[in-house]
């Protein structure tokens, strides 16, 4: 994984898997074994308790996306894979950061957080913890501005995504269904 911004040629795979022990290890192991790079990864249960959704941002410079998808599909626990085009999906990510800032300058960080519509999570004597949820680009900007104050700790979740709802044509995200 890397902390630099996602390259322009990144792809988002939304992978529906059986909610079972070891699934994440299988997916991560496959990427390692085949020499593919993961840019970011987010995992959580879905509306169906039997299933989890893994959102993987793939660095496609490392391997053709088609091979990544096909190899992933061979995992028995993988139920469905959708490739989400960044232009046709909504993406969100959460950032939390603790910034070292003396009490007298705290107002500037609070103001910055408010401009970005973020939240103040905790306030200490010489530090403040803020959070921001939004598109990954917006988080990048916020992070860069915070950096000027001195970030002590930073945690980003990696992106999650769903297809954009298309109000006109019935174009659906490309799906790789197993049943045929």
């Amino acid at each position: 994984m890397s902390t630099t911004p996602a390259p322009a040629a990144h792809h988002i795979l939304s992978v529906l898997v059986e909610n079972r022990p070891g699934v994440l290890a299988r997916v991560a192991g496959l990427f390692a074994r085949r020499g593919y790079n993961i840019f970011s990864l987010a995992v959580a249960p879905t509306e169906d308790p039997m299933l989890s959704r893994i959102t993987i941002v793939v660095d496609v410079e490392s391997a053709p996306l088609e091979q990544v998808v096909k190899q992933l599909f061979k995992l028995i626990d993988v139920v469905k894979i959708s490739e989400l085009d960044p232009r046709r999906s909504v993406e969100r990510e959460l950032l939390m950061a603790t910034v070292r800032v003396p009490a007298e300058d705290r107002g500037q960080v609070v103001e910055l957080t408010n401009i970005f519509e973020g939240k103040i999570l905790a306030v200490g004597v010489e530090a403040i913890t803020v959070s921001l949820e939004g598109s990954p680009d917006k988080l990048d900007d916020f992070e860069e501005l915070l950096r000027g104050y001195g970030i002590v700790e930073l945690q980003r979740t990696g992106r999650v995504a769903l297809p954009k709802l298309d109000r006109e044509a019935r174009t659906r995200p490309q799906k790789y269904g197993k049943a045929s």
Binding site: E66, K74, I76, D77, K178
Partner: protein, 584 residues
């Protein structure tokens, strides 16, 4: 019906219900509970001398029967010893189910005695694996394992069973087919080819003037040898059979060109190179076949039939990809071609192509320099004799190296499922245990293992298993005192600087070793001893026989395409290289 039995009883009962007749294994601490109900089961257990042997035996059994091989061993070191056979089976798509013991659930993660993360270690070398955490899950997991191992692209499946799970009581329930399918929502192999692609394939085949049927191990997995023959004869196209597919199409058929690839014959290699259409059936464009990919069959369109969608476009982009079972797809292609022919279309004229091919066959038969009186014995001669003197339907197993390539080259495979070898992984030591497994699967057949002296020393102790369990196999050790294939590479590509390839001219004494293991041992040092030794070995059927052939260490495998080079640059036998220009 709510019968209470132990997890171990459920395991053995489930294996019986799956039709398992033989388990290859070795017990130990954590798997102990499963060995108790085994005493009351009709399943035959073959007690091996090393767990790796159990794995390769299961593979050999699966190779010749088409039924999944079953191996059962304990936890920790037994599981790690199983990694090589699992990887071997994974690379060669061999259906296999492996049962391992595990420390009790409460001890998992504590570095308990003989604990290892079996599921983690074997994840990348199995088609699927599971750690079973409650006894009630055992029947379903066993059914899933056999279903996954034998359907789609076959492969090894491992079930890891903690000791307490085997000991605990469970309520017996045998899941229905529907329950198994419902429990695997992400597993639905595609069997039927896409109708539009099949039409497209039929059309390309009709138009091709230089077709080659490129046949891989998938044909054997799909039990498609018969329909392959129907297709080949219908379109009258030459067939190459890869190392994994030897026997899928009879070597004595006029359309069979034999093996392509790094040590294939010049005709098979060149026919692929010059082809305008590769009809690829259950093959995967392995680097040993393609050589330098960018220079491989540059003018060929590609039809690629494979049950594994990930093989489509992995190495070579196909013009017509068809995901499906080879047998079903070929049947459909044959039907589509017959329809086109019935509608008045005709096959393109391939007579010029055929005559080019027969020219190559005439100019470049497999060749070695025969030995002059007083010379060392030629390994190829030994194999020719073995081939000619062995009964019809003999199953040939081999290890990995020069002897493997000579076996594939010089044997005549006229029947499917008579060739057992380690293709993808290239596992030295494969042949003796695989031959034992093959003999268990096909006790009616003569089983010869061809081995090198390097390979033999890796797994020979399983001949003790063969003797004790009364599984009579025959082993031909081509002893050149070297790691022969490595020596060949050092001679050809490292300026004859031989580094760590010389084993020993006298040690071990293979005859004494064979005798110590309960086998008959025979040493052959000169050409005139070859025939009587093989005749004697073939006449013995109450025990295993090891024939040591002391062969010429300088003999190399030809032709050869050096790794990473173009198939156009195949190195011919020195006595044929002056004819190189005919390879056009």
């Amino acid at each position: 019906m709510s019968e209470k039995i132990t997890g171990a009883q459920a395991l053995i009962r489930a294996l019986e219900k799956e039709g398992v007749d033989t388990i290859f294994g070795l017990p130990g601490g954590c798997i102990l509970p499963a060995y108790d109900p085994l005493l009351d089961s009709p399943i035959r257990h073959i007690l091996v001398r090393h767990e790796q042997g159990a794995g390769h035996m299961a593979e050999g059994y699966a190779h010749v029967t088409g039924r999944p091989g079953v191996a059962m061993v304990t936890s920790g070191p037994a599981a790690t010893n199983m990694v090589t056979p699992l990887c071997d089976a994974y690379m060669d798509s061999i259906p296999m189910v492996c049962i391992t013991g595990q420390v009790p659930t409460g001890a998992i993660g504590t570095d308990a005695f003989q604990e290892c993360d079996t599921v983690g270690i074997t994840r990348s070398v199995t088609k699927h694996n599971e750690l079973i955490m409650t006894a009630n899950d055992i029947p379903l997991m066993v059914r899933q394992a056999f279903h996954i191992a034998t359907t789609g692209r076959p492969g090894p499946v491992l079930l890891d069973l903690p000791k307490d799970v085997l000991q605990n009581q469970m309520t017996w329930h045998w899941p229905t087919d529907d329950e198994v399918l419902d429990s695997l929502p992400g597993y639905r192999p595609t069997l039927k080819g896409h109708p539009r692609m099949i039409k497209e394939a039929a059309r390309l085949i009709l138009e091709s003037r230089q077709p080659v049927l490129y046949v891989g191990g998938g044909i054997l997995k799909a039990r498609a040898a018969e329909v392959l023959r129907e297709l080949a004869e219908l379109i009258d196209a030459p067939v190459v059979t890869t190392l994994m597919a030897r026997g899928a199409f009879p070597d004595d058929h006029p359309l069979c060109l034999g093996m392509p690839g790094m040590h294939g014959n010049a005709t098979a290699i060149t026919a692929m190179q010059k082809s305008d259409l590769l009809i690829t059936l259950g093959a995967r464009f392995d680097d040993r076949i393609t050589g330098k990919v960018a220079a491989f069959a540059p003018d060929a369109k590609v039809i690629h039939v494979d049950i594994d969608p990930a093989e489509q476009g992995k190495v070579r982009r196909p013009d017509v990809p068809i995901v499906g079972d080879c047998r079903l797809v070929i049947e459909e292609i044959v039907k589509a071609i017959r329809e086109l022919l019935a509608a008045g279309e005709a096959l393109a004229d391939t007579s010029a192509w055929k005559s080019r091919i027969s020219g190559w066959r005439e100019q470049f038969p497999l060749h070695y320099s025969s030995s002059q009186p007083g010379d060392a014995l030629k390994p190829q001669y030994c194999l020719e004799q073995l081939r000619d003197l062995s009964p019809e339907g003999t199953i040939l197993c081999s290890g990995v190296g020069q002897h493997q390539m000579w076996s594939s080259q010089y044997w005549k495979f006229n029947e499917p499922y008579t060739w057992v070898n380690s293709g993808g992984l290239g596992t030295m030591g494969f042949s003796v245990p695989a031959a034992i497994g093959a003999k268990v699967g096909r006790p009616d057949r003569t089983v010869w293992a061809v081995d090198g002296d390097g390979c033999f020393q890796m797994t020979a102790q399983e001949l003790v298993t063969a003797s004790v369990e009364r599984i009579p196999i025959k082993v031909a050790v081509l002893n050149n005192s070297y790691l022969g294939m490595v020596r060949q590479w050092q001679e050809m590509f490292y300026e004859e600087r031989y580094s760590e390839v010389y084993l020993s001219p006298e040690l071990p004494d293979f005859v004494k070793w064979a005798e110590a293991m309960g086998c008959v041992g025979i040493r052959v040092e000169s050409p005139e001893e070859v025939e009587p030794a093989i005749e004697k070995a073939n006449s013995i059927d109450d025990r295993s026989v090891v024939v040591e052939f002391r062969v010429d260490a300088g003999e190399k495998v030809f032709p050869m395409v050096p790794a990473g080079q173009s198939n156009d640059d195949v190195i011919l036998h020195p006595e044929q290289s002056s004819r190189r220009e005919f390879l056009r």
